[in-house]
Symmetry: C2
Subunit: 303 residues, 2 copies
């Protein structure tokens, strides 16, 4: 009748490894048990999920379908459990995630005016975290940057902001007002986990260091390992003496969105959503006022 989430979790383990023994080991159960559970799941669903023949274990069509669906479902279940725990310990607390450079304060103020009893908690998130943290409930709502995997999320665009190029201080273009994409055509890129720092090209996968977060990016750029791109607002909050920022107007702007787990239905979250949309312009401004007036003078400030 009801899907058994334990069996589903077992299934995912087997599907990931295509190997019953190792999956059982990972799950800390005996292999025969796992074999039986999978068979039971297949019987319950009325569909065979794996083909077990001489050449090992492989997924069937139904198995592929189930694997695609199982992850989000298990994440939702996990999120439910987490939220109930929160509600039980009476913590009227809204966890808001935000990507570097996006100020949450305006929306939080507007929201707390309507919900004085709810504490707004903020937490920095990185690109590779933004979707999972929403899905499993570690954050209730997130200020994210595209691209993002929208599966299981409700994503609403808020505003865009221009990108800037991140160059080492001694770069050959350091004195210019602004640069174009063409100017930087031959430059190596710092390989960042976040694709938004590589808006038009991807470095070779084995090209070099994989970095995560703005601070590390700056460090690598300063070390001359490559250049990168950032949303302009991030430059307000991060600087590095050996790094300069430079407008690059012909690059497509960065899209900031608001996202919640789609399975999430709560008036509190909706109200924050509304507050965030109402204060979107103010939020966008915050990234503006420093850098925009300085323009390329930022070079002298940071350089």
């Amino acid at each position: 009748m009801d899907l058994d989430l334990r069996k589903l979790r077992y299934f995912v383990a087997v599907a990931d490894r295509l190997h019953f023994g190792r999956a059982a080991d990972e799950l800390h159960i005996a292999q025969p048990v796992l074999s039986r559970q999978i068979r039971a799941l297949e019987q319950d669903l009325g569909a065979s999920l794996f083909t077990r023949d001489r050449h090992g274990v492989a997924l069937t069509d139904a198995g592929r379908q189930l694997l695609a669906d199982a992850g989000p479902l298990l994440a939702s279940a996990h999120a439910v459990r987490r939220r109930v725990s929160m509600a039980a310990r009476g913590s009227r607390r809204l966890m808001v995630g935000f990507r570097a450079g996006i100020p949450v304060i305006p929306a939080a103020r507007a929201f707390e005016a309507r919900h004085p009893d709810v504490v707004v908690d903020v937490q920095r998130i990185e690109w590779d975290d933004q979707a999972p943290m929403l899905l499993d409930g570690r954050i209730d709502v997130g200020y994210v940057r595209l691209p993002i995997d929208e599966a299981g999320l409700r994503v609403t665009p808020l505003y865009t902001e221009p990108r800037v190029a991140v160059l080492p201080a001694g770069h050959r273009l350091a004195g210019k007002e602004e640069v174009t994409e063409a100017d930087l055509a031959g430059e190596p890129l710092v390989w960042h986990a976040d694709p938004s720092t590589q808006p038009t090209r991807r470095p070779h996968p084995n090209a070099g260091y994989l970095v995560r977060g703005v601070d590390e990016t700056l460090e690598h750029v300063a070390a001359g390992r490559g250049i990168s791109f950032l949303a302009r607002s991030a430059t307000v909050f991060y600087s590095h003496p050996e790094v300069i920022y430079m407008p690059i107007p012909d690059l497509a702007p960065d899209q900031v969105c608001l996202a919640v787990a789609a399975s999430r239905t709560s008036p509190v979250v909706d109200d924050f959503f509304t507050a965030a949309q109402a204060t979107a312009e103010i939020t966008a401004e915050c990234g503006n006022y420093e850098m925009w007036q300085l323009g390329s003078d930022a070079v002298s400030k940071h350089g």
Copy 2:
């Protein structure tokens, strides 16, 4: 460890009725069993879900939170099971739901050009069905009309279309070119399940008949029980000898959106989504060409 969906279903039954005995009856289990399952769930979650005191059963904060989350989660689980069954029986089949008056053919054609192996199945849906059918997987993607409960869905606007007033043939305004909202201020409304037919006012809940679907609406309007409003495209597909349609330009237009269950992540569905967005203008046109040219001449045609 894993949430038990059976217990969750039991919990919803109790939470809906706030009565263990009747919930147990509904679930076809004995009341003591239900008591124990709920206690087990509470222990599993580490939170009490109900307060049971002299004045009966009531939800705690944690219980309210769980009730809000349980429905979507159970629906997702159901949808997963359904999709696996589909995949198992090898049916490369995409179920597309659509509200009255929205032609699916253009998008289906564009989609089938890219996916010759997938059969596009279409199914009419009503307002009160549109969200549940997406959530539990009876349809994979839906052409819906606002308002819709977006919880658990990904909703993307496609286009808008003007509304028309639906009047009985002998109505005092029957000869006019068009009407305004003010002209109809005093008129009773046919109480339709779909709020989009009552864009600005709601009839009194006990005012009269509750109807569902365009055909019934026309019947009731013809019988003089009230007037109604429809998206213009619906008038292309439905007519009634005793009913006339009349443009009402000052009414906010009807918003047609594309929706999928947010937990759904599938390239096939994504491709249909793309196809539908690409053909949105054509789709909008289909509702246009007959009524728009006729204008108020539709009176003479249908009247």
